[in-house]
């Protein structure tokens, strides 16, 4: 049995959600997921709850600003709208921008009955999202907010020959995702670029660099972001928000994932973009 510290386990629980990856199976329960992490179900729920509380408190704090609250009120989601947040671990995160947005909408527009669907799955590249896009279609979305591409830039091994996906393939996948949505949904589409990172922290991280020989570079992430910025649909540029290298306050100590402050910065940039 592997042994992890409580902090390491909380990190895994924050980002790894077997209910999504095992979702095709009929009997996925909280008890089995907790057991897979080696946790009893109460401890598992306590960890999940603490992240959900963070997301709710972040939304409450943001709404203290009357100007921001007015922007949330003006978000172009119609009553009853179904909004899909599509992405990787930065969206899947239990205290992500998507979770904060869910609370913003519930708190500021309780009568509008807007449904926020978190369709982030940790580790996913643009190819992985293309492979599960039917699940997005089946949600009958009115809006798709897509923050993808960080894992396309992921490199594996001590001497990686390439990124997970070459920029040419990422570009084709972005076009294929958009085409899939155009032909099988009537949703409006918004992109968010990958953010930036702190390469040295990723290399030193117990899980990413040390445990799994995973690395990211800001040059690779910029190449992906350039492709997103070139899309004709609306784009929120998170690289400008995070800076190069990223502002350390906006990232967890892993150097890759946004901290709660970073997730707040993402949702703020998104709301400002949608409600200028």
């Amino acid at each position: 049995m592997l042994s992890y510290s409580p902090e390491q386990l909380a990190y895994l629980v924050q980002f790894i959600h077997p209910a999504k990856t095992l979702g095709a199976l009929p009997g996925v329960t909280e008890d089995i997921i907790a057991a897979a992490f080696g946790l009893d179900v109460e401890e598992y729920r306590r960890i999940k709850r603490s992240y959900a509380d963070n997301a709710r408190r972040a939304a409450q704090a943001l709404l203290q600003d009357a100007g921001f609250a007015a922007q949330v009120a003006r978000l172009p989601f119609a009553p009853g709208a179904r909004v899909v947040a599509l992405g990787d671990s930065i969206t899947d995160d239990d205290q992500s921008w998507a979770e904060i947005l869910r609370h913003l909408l519930a708190l500021a527009r309780p009568g509008d009955d807007i449904t926020l669907i978190n369709a982030g799955v940790s580790g996913h590249t643009t190819s992985d999202v293309l492979a599960r896009f039917l699940g997005v279609v089946n949600e009958q979305p009115d809006w798709i907010i897509c923050m993808i591409g960080t894992n396309d830039a992921r490199r594996h091994g001590l001497h990686p020959a390439k990124t997970m996906l070459s920029p040419a393939e990422t570009e084709r996948n972005l076009a294929a995702l958009r085409q899939y949505a155009l032909t099988q949904t009537s949703a409006r589409w918004v992109w968010m670029t990958p953010a930036t990172v702190i390469e040295e922290k990723i290399a030193a991280d117990w899980w990413l660099g040390q445990g799994n020989q995973i690395m990211f570079t800001n040059a690779d992430l910029r190449a992906v972001a350039d492709l997103v910025r070139r899309r004709p649909e609306p784009v929120v540029d998170l690289q400008a928000v995070f800076g190069v290298p990223a502002n350390p306050d906006l990232l967890l100590s892993d150097g890759l994932h946004p901290s709660l402050a970073g997730q707040i910065a993402i949702v703020t940039a998104l709301v400002r973009h949608l409600s200028p």
Binding site: M1, L2, S3, Y4, L9, L12, I16, P18, T21, L22, A24, L25, P26, G27, V28, T29, I32, A34, A35, A36, F37, G38, L39, G123, T125, S127, L130, A131, F133, L134, V137, R154, H156, G157, L158, H159, P160, A161, K162, M164, L165, S166, A168, E169, R172, N173, A175, A176, Q179, Y180, T183, Q184, N212, Q213
Partner: protein, 278 residues
């Protein structure tokens, strides 16, 4: 979701959550894995054991042929060798070529101590294999037999613009896998091309069609071309299976090799391997 026994067995044959959940500390038992599929531990274990028994019987039938047994004796795996099968559902399959090969070794060369590690993972593309390859290096393999690429050619949706990975990207990924293997292991490498399929059967299959998943033999042949160009020994299953594929060598899903198909793969692999120097 109500599944028939056949549908359930198909899922259990290919979908191995113990691999997806490995590495997160907890250890689940048959009761938990069965529960994931909505069945009890006994039904789950019975289905997996039946598939394993198929692989063992296939090995016995193969070894009844003295020529095949002689080729097994010439295989270039040294005593104690670690042989890793990298692949997708066609390897992950409980009655796959790799499991038959394991049974062949257990029956014919039980004292040779060859360790066979099934690193097939259902649904994997060449990118997924690359992202999982560090785990392969940790096994200190002497041989890596890589049977990957079918899922690169997978298409999704009613109007798919492209396969999951373009053939150029597959070529870059195979080069990256070779590089990863060459820099972080001392393993010898062998490739197996994706086989061909029967697209009409895939389109009619209860699970694959529901997922709006399709394959075209042109896409698979393009991947096969990339694999055939590798500067390592290659077993060409496309020549063997034909296009479209021989129906009796595939399951009813039109995609996965049947037991007879896996037996054909093992025969071809053992023939090719037995020609290689020690």
């Amino acid at each position: 979701m109500t599944l028939t026994r056949e549908q359930l067995s198909w899922l259990i044959q290919f979908d191995h959550p113990e691999k997806a959940l490995a590495g997160y500390r907890g250890e689940l038992d048959d009761a938990a894995y069965g529960a994931l599929f909505g069945v009890g531990a006994e039904v789950y274990r019975e289905m997996r054991d039946a598939l394993a028994a198929n692989a063992k019987r296939a090995a016995q039938v193969l070894l009844a042929d003295p020529a095949f047994a002689a080729r097994v004796d010439r295989l270039p795996f040294k005593p104690g060798a670690v042989v890793v099968g990298v692949g997708d559902s066609m390897t992950d399959d409980d009655q796959s070529w790799f499991e038959i090969l394991r049974a062949v070794f257990a029956l014919r060369r039980p004292r040779r101590g060859v360790m066979l590690i099934n690193a097939g993972f259902s649904g994997d593309t060449t990118v997924d294999a690359l992202s999982r390859f560090y785990g392969v290096t940790l096994q200190h393999p002497d041989w890596i037999i890589c049977f990957i690429g079918t899922n690169d050619a997978r298409r999704h949706g009613r109007f798919p613009l492209k396969p999951l990975l373009s053939a150029e990207e597959t070529a870059r990924n195979l080069a990256a896998l070779r590089h990863f293997g060459a820099t972080q292991t001392s393993a010898r490498r062998m490739w197996i091309t994706p086989p061909t399929c029967i697209p009409e059967k895939i389109a009619a299959h209860w699970h694959l069609s529901q997922g709006q998943i399709s394959w075209a033999n042109e896409d698979l042949i393009a991947i096969g071309d990339v694999v055939r160009r590798q500067p390592d020994p290659v077993v060409d299953l496309q020549a063997l299976f034909g296009a479209p594929a021989r129906a009796d060598w595939l399951l009813d899903d039109g995609l996965h090799p049947s037991l007879a198909g896996h037996v054909a793969i093992v025969s071809a692999l053992v023939s090719r391997l037995s020609e290689l120097p020690d």
